[in-house]
């Protein structure tokens, strides 16, 4: 590991806790049923081994799932006292805590993320999210968003935080009295299917939660289904746009949580070591597969050399490799397709004149890997400064004045998040006020909590998830 000087013995987390079936059907009406679409395989991106076979839900399968959700909505869930809906959600929260090791290992296997993050970030937040919204179920009248559910929610989630995004979607929807049809991403369906088993274990009434696996066509069938009252989507801005077009002229309600190109702004008075830790967390957490990642570093000129040197020193200590090793900092890129996109944009960065740097690091032979990467000499017009790379790639720019930092930070069609590092309180509040982003992390980055609303400005989408505000997406 280059200059770190430390040698680590392997510290693998045991996979024995995960007991996968060779094949999974669709979870509709409380049972696993065969789909009519074709089968596809979910693989481990770290090794390319096949983990299990799942089935692509056809339009007919989606129709069945929506019918099951409608039935459960009208017969059971809508009119159930909030207190009892809450109790089911509390049960689910407890079951997630009890089975958190199993879920964390499976998440790491299917997604490629380090077990340390799945165990210490994803799973605690998943359980907390269900706990938080469980408590709202019988208190909706106090939230200021109306008290009536919308009906059947079609929910489509991405592959970067599979179970956490499921929790962000399902917990508030159910608390408010809606039923759901959820489509997990095609590369990471397995924890959602394990969650379906948890719903069975919690004796959740059949049809309240339905899980349909598949890719874009399945998602489209769900979005366009006339029996769906609400669409909640997390994913790319491009797909978000197509969803907004598809629902135009319908009565469907929509919330969209889309892409980002967040600025992480370091002023010359910031504590540099803390700021560098925050910058590293901001872009290399979860391999940079984070919509709110701090993918543009804006450094005030007087501390540019110091920050860059410190950043390079820190990157050299990051451990890239086996996601199930408890010492791993950076795991596998989620898919061959995503790896190709990261490579393409990085190559474009070089071609447009930015300078690329990665610490020396050995990457495994099999699986999908990309080293932590910095680009210096980046200008605002470079594609790596404008487009979401969704990988462990940081573009570094500089600024002189606070006004210039604001101007550059806001110079993007996105507006999901931003970070600011300064010890001066009045400047921090001035910056926070002017940054056009839904989440501003001041002297921190990538913090999440079920009580804290999350969502974007501009082309990062609309609606909020989390907190009291998150209820607004599921009530009228």
């Amino acid at each position: 590991m280059g200059m770190s000087g430390f040698e680590y013995a392997p510290a693998p987390e045991s996979r024995a806790v995960v007991d996968l079936d060779p094949s999974y059907g669709l979870f509709i009406g409380g049972e696993f049923t065969d789909g009519t679409g074709s089968a596809f395989k979910s693989i481990s991106p770290a090794t390319e081994e096949v983990l299990a076979e799942v089935h692509e839900a056809s339009a007919a399968d989606v129709d069945r799932a929506v019918a099951a959700a409608r039935h459960a909505y009208e017969r059971v869930w809508r009119d159930m006292p909030g207190r009892d809906r809450g109790k089911y959600l509390f049960r689910i929260a407890r079951l997630i805590q009890e089975r958190s090791r199993e879920l964390a290992v499976l998440e790491s296997l299917d997604n490629g993320k380090p077990i340390r993050e799945a165990r210490d970030v994803d799973l605690p937040l998943v359980a907390a999210h269900f706990f938080y919204y469980a408590g709202w179920a019988d208190k909706l009248a106090y939230a200021g968003h109306g008290t009536q559910p919308l009906g059947v929610a079609g929910q489509i989630i991405p592959w970067n935080f599979p179970l956490l995004m499921l929790a962000w979607k399902i917990a508030p929807a159910l608390a408010c009295g809606n039923t759901v049809v959820l489509k997990p991403a095609e590369t990471t369906p397995l924890t959602a299917l394990l969650f379906a088993q948890i719903c069975q274990q919690a004796e959740l009434p059949p049809g309240v939660v339905n899980i349909v696996t598949g890719a874009g066509a399945t998602g489209r069938a769900l979005v366009e289904h006339p029996g769906v009252d609400k669409i909640a989507f997390t994913g790319s801005t491009e797909v978000g746009r197509s969803i907004a077009r598809a629902v135009a002229g319908t009565p469907k309600r929509v919330t969209l949580e889309l892409g980002g190109k967040a600025a992480n702004i370091v002023f010359d008075d910031a504590p540099i070591d803390q700021a560098v830790e925050g910058v590293v967390n901001g872009i290399f957490f979860n391999q940079g597969h984070v919509c709110c990642a701090g993918s543009r570093l804006l450094v005030q000129e007087p501390v540019y050399d110091e920050v860059l040197a410190s950043l390079k020193r820190r990157l050299a200590t990051l451990r890239v490799g086996d996601p199930l090793d408890k010492n791993t900092d950076i795991g596998a890129i989620n898919s061959a397709e995503q790896l190709a996109r990261i490579r393409e944009l990085s190559d474009i960065g070089e071609a447009e004149g930015a300078e690329r740097w990665s610490p020396p690091c050995e990457l495994p032979d099999r699986g999908f890997w990309f080293p932590p990467t910095l680009f210096t000499g980046v200008s605002q017009s470079h594609r790596i400064a404008r487009e979401e790379i969704f990988g462990p790639v940081l573009s570094i720019l500089t600024f002189r004045t606070p006004a210039e930092a604001v101007e550059k930070a806001n110079n993007t069609p996105y507006g999901l998040s931003a970070g600011v590092w300064t010890e001066k309180g009045s400047r921090m509040l001035w910056m926070a006020d002017r940054l056009r982003a839904g989440v501003v992390w001041a002297n921190t980055f990538n913090r999440f909590d079920p009580t804290s609303p999350f969502g974007g400005y501009k082309e990062s989408g609309y609606g909020r998830e989390g907190g009291r505000h998150g209820l607004g997406a599921y009530l009228r």
Partner: protein, 273 residues
């Protein structure tokens, strides 16, 4: 000898000024004194109005809530003084005045109602506040030329948004008269821009404009509403759909339209010594 009256030219309201349409066109509309010509705005006028609205956004959104409240209350004061004139142009003048008063009072309260502290599980200060979305495109209600207009305009601008309004096509004169009130009531130029003309011609360039952040389809023609919403998807505008049947604008107002054009910003900061 009877006095010969001075007639008025009905113009657009863009960036605090009263230009004619750059197209040079006008179209006939009925007024209390017979048929008159209103400016028939063009796509270019819409684009100019968006530029003016964007330019005004920084100052208006950063004005204090107290200041915005004072300015909007001033609009009610000036309308009160011109009740007779407005009474000839539209019904519900008193309700329209009272609506300005109602919304003016919200400027320094909305953050307290729509924002809150978040008790996160960690040593962080965490606060969510509503902020204005940006430039809002508004298709004013067609059949309620004053009260309907105020009921969609005031909630959009009170939080700091700026607006481009397409006035009621057949009854635009109340909107033009309101522009004269806005121009003399300390509302900064560009905060409200009003374009008169053919809705079907003006609405698509507004709905598809990439520097417009949100769209109120209150007055969208029924056959155009879906395609306008589709155009708005291009840059993910926040859209308030056309209601069917048309809302009763005399009914008690609510916060829906205020909140539809706000963004929730959440700020985290560590707590420590």
């Amino acid at each position: 000898m009877t006095r010969l009256p001075v007639l008025k030219t009905y113009k657009l309201y863009i960036g605090g000024k009263f230009p004619r349409s750059e197209s040079g066109r006008s179209y006939p509309v009925s007024s209390p004194s017979g048929v008159v010509n209103a400016a028939q705005g063009s796509r270019k006028d819409v684009r100019d109005a968006v530029v003016a609205a964007r330019a005004a956004f920084g100052g208006w959104s950063r004005a204090t809530a107290y200041n915005r409240g004072q300015v909007l209350y001033r609009v009610a004061e000036l309308l009160e003084g011109r009740r007779a004139e407005f009474g000839r142009l539209a019904p519900d003048v008193d309700e329209a005045i009272d609506r300005w008063v109602w919304y003016a009072g919200w400027t320094d309260k909305i953050a307290q109602v729509a924002g809150n502290a978040n008790p996160v599980a960690g040593p962080y200060f965490n606060l969510s506040v509503p902020e204005p979305t940006g430039v809002v495109g508004i298709l004013a209600p067609q059949s309620s030329p004053l009260l309907g207009l105020v009921s969609v305009l005031a909630p959009a601008i009170l939080t700091g948004n700026t607006a481009v309004v397409i006035a009621s096509e057949s009854s635009p004169l109340a909107a033009v008269a309101l522009a004269e009130v806005l121009a003399t009531s300390d509302v900064p130029g560009g905060v409200v821009n009003i374009v008169t003309g053919r809705t079907a011609e003006l609405a698509p360039p507004l709905a598809g404009h990439l520097d417009v952040n949100a769209l109120d389809l209150a007055g969208a023609p029924v056959d155009l509403a879906a395609s306008l919403e589709g155009l708005a998807a291009e840059n993910l505008k926040r859209v308030v759909r056309r209601a069917d049947p048309e809302p009763d604008w005399t009914a008690e107002p609510a916060l829906d339209r205020v909140l539809a054009f706000t963004e929730t910003k959440t700020v985290w900061h560590p707590i420590g010594v």
